[in-house]
């Protein structure tokens, strides 16, 4: 800072009283700053995910999600200076106005705040509220949606991962899926080096030998139980198909398996939790998924894998649309009933994936809005350093995600729509399936030398 604004002859000498006052005021200011620091308990902290999940599970049918505008605030970063937009990056906290609005809405509509969390990328403050009285949830949601202070109001939605029971057969087709989609040939061109993939799912066994070095980051939006995170099944199975790398992990190279993009990096974002002892199925809800999507954006993920499905959700749709606008490739699983309005596949721009139909079934792949990939009896990792065969569109989704990572390995700025179109155009039939993606043919279409042996 410069200080030439007063020539010395215009200096005003202050009297002794003035100096004493200044000293007193300054000491109080220092005290205020110290209080602001020591009063950290007053500062709203990060929501406790475990407590939030417990409360949500207690009364899920009484929970409402709403968002209000989180108007930007000029944060004073420099002491003793008036606010004028100086160096203020986007605030990640709720603005005073947003907090006041949520509190006023809760009072007016008889709601209790369970958790609140700003979503910086959408400039909104999001809250999960529980209906205190006996009013029906649909009625309260309708009233809130009509309130001009509310951006969005919706019931708390529940989503499920899309894994089914595997058939006890075809064990001889070890890693058949990789051959079928041309992944082994494509890996001679690229192995997806450094492409960051956000897997929004359950936890992942980060200690699995075949995932060693493949996990770039972990975040848990469900609870603080990191042991359970490493025991979670569905996320481990999905991550295994994407990025297992037996060469990196296992000393015994005869063991282990290879993922489609064995050099891709996984950002493990736990937004779902297992709801049965076998670990086959898992559930998630709107708020945990919203937090995970925001985290994927902040982590600069190139691809987001959503091996789950559920009802259309306006908040999640907004976040996914934002990711797509920012060039992130979002891959989602189609539910078993084929509902294309469901989340996430109902969001324009999401690459929808179904398990490939058996050879002989009728599939018009060129006009279908979905891509097909192996999703029956595919080999993958399971927690505890184990392996198993799994089935479901969850895993077909993982194949497409990893194939996208390989394609980003040769063309880093691939547009999501172009990538989807390329995989569709280069899909074809195999001995096992009526139509399935082929990443090697997709690479060849990009003028990269890739020769696939016919299946």
């Amino acid at each position: 800072m410069s200080y030439p604004f007063t020539p010395p002859w215009k200096r005003e000498q202050r009297d002794a009283n003035g100096c004493t006052t200044a000293r007193a005021v300054l000491s109080r200011l220092t005290l205020c700053a110290a209080c602001a620091l020591s009063a950290c308990a007053l500062v709203p902290g990060t929501p406790d995910p475990a407590a939030m999940t417990r409360q949500m599970l207690a009364h899920p049918d009484r929970m409402i999600i709403l968002t209000v505008a989180n108007s930007p605030e000029t944060l004073m970063l420099r002491a003793g200076s008036t606010s004028r937009g100086y160096g203020a990056a986007t605030s990640y906290s709720a603005s005073d106005s947003a907090r006041a609005t949520i509190a006023a809405l809760a009072r007016q509509y008889g709601l209790r705040e369970v958790s609140a969390w700003p979503i910086p990328s959408l400039n909104v403050h999001c809250a999960m509220l529980e209906i205190s009285g006996a009013a029906p949830r649909d009625q309260v949601v309708a009233q809130l949606a009509a309130d001009p202070r509310v951006n969005l109001a919706e019931p708390l939605h529940t989503f499920h991962t899309l894994a089914g029971a595997p058939a006890v057969a075809a064990y001889s087709n070890l890693e058949q899926g990789l051959h079928e989609i041309g992944a082994y040939a494509a890996q001679k061109v690229t192995r997806g080096d450094s492409v960051e993939i956000a897997v929004i799912d359950t936890g992942i066994d980060t200690m699995h030998p075949d995932l060693r070095g493949r996990i770039a980051a972990t975040q848990n939006f469900v609870d603080d139980d990191w042991d359970q995170f490493n025991r979670d099944q569905h996320g481990t199975e999905v991550a295994g198909i994407i990025a297992a790398d037996h060469r990196a992990g296992s000393l015994d190279r005869t063991r282990g398996m290879e993922g489609v993009a064995p050099h891709a990096s996984i950002i493990a974002l736990k937004a779902c939790w297992q709801d049965d002892p076998s670990g086959r199925t898992a559930v998630c809800h709107t708020l945990t998924l919203a937090e995970a999507l925001q985290a994927a954006l902040e982590a600069h993920a190139k691809i987001v894998n959503l091996s789950l499905g559920g009802p259309p959700d306006p908040l999640l749709a907004e976040l996914v649309a934002l990711l797509i606008r920012k060039g992130v490739i979002v891959v989602g699983a189609v539910e078993p009933d084929g509902d294309m309005n469901a989340f996430p596949v109902g969001v324009p721009g999401v690459i929808a994936v179904e398990s490939a139909r058996r050879a002989g079934d009728t599939v018009d792949a060129s006009s279908s809005p979905v891509l097909y990939a192996p999703g029956r009896n595919v080999l993958t990792l399971t927690p505890g350093g184990n392996y198993d065969f799994v089935s479901g569109s969850s895993f077909a989704t993982a194949y497409v995600t990893a194939s996208a990572a390989l394609l980003l390995g040769v063309r880093p700025h691939f547009n999501p729509n172009d990538l989807s179109a390329l995989l569709r155009q280069t899909s074809g039939s195999t001995k096992l399936h009526a139509s399935v993606i082929n990443v090697c043919r997709a690479m060849a279409a990009l003028h990269r030398s890739c020769t696939d042996s016919p299946q």
Binding site: F5, C40, R84, S97, R325
Partner: protein, 270 residues
Amino acid sequence: MTSDMGIMRDAISFDGQYREVVSGRTAQMRVSLAGWICASLRALVMLMVAWATPAAALDDWQFSAGAATDNITRGIDISAGQPSLFASAAWYPGSGVFAGASASSIRSLGSAQTGVEFVTDAGYVWRAGNDWSAQAMLADYRFTGVPFAYRIDYDELVLTAGWRDSVFASITVSPNTGGGPTPRLWAVSYDLVGRVPLSHGFSAMASVGYYDIAQETGSGYVYGNAGLTYQYRTLQFDVQYFTTRASAQMDMRMGAILVHRWVADMIWHF
């Protein structure tokens, strides 16, 4: 007064104007250096903004405009106790990179002219979870419309650590702070800012800082402010008391521009 860089500056004349004799070569070098820093920063800002995906570009911008009863920087009055208008634009695509530009009206004591302070900044913010953040920023300050504006332009490197967007500690280093009749030298400031959210749209804030300009003036001074912020939708209102504490020597030199006063401001974000 003669500096070690060969600049000979005269004392301040009674008509309030600086008279100086500057060796042409040194002045040219200084202008080149300042111009290079400024041009580099602006090029960096433009490059970063151009980098944004066009479809998402508008989502990444924030604008604000407002007015304050005074314009104060580190406890120094830069609008001579007069109201100040300001506007700013900030670009933050969410990837950590940010850039911005702002303009605010300024005025010299004893001058009827109203000038403008332009600030261009660019930097990177790192976040660790939702609680911790760190920010590195380069800022370029340019003045126009006030006497000898070119002599008070300066640049800064600011390193800031933040906790929950409520507590910020920063250190600022400037290699070319100009003090009017003295040569441009190093200046360092240390800031600690706290903000506590209250209810009904209010927050309390307090800050304290130390501006080390010993290389130029032989000492530094303490500054700070405390007050309340109220936000109603896109409007932000601040009322704060600003004060400073300087040594007798510093007080003699800069007393009239070191503030002890209430300041109110209103900011509209759009």
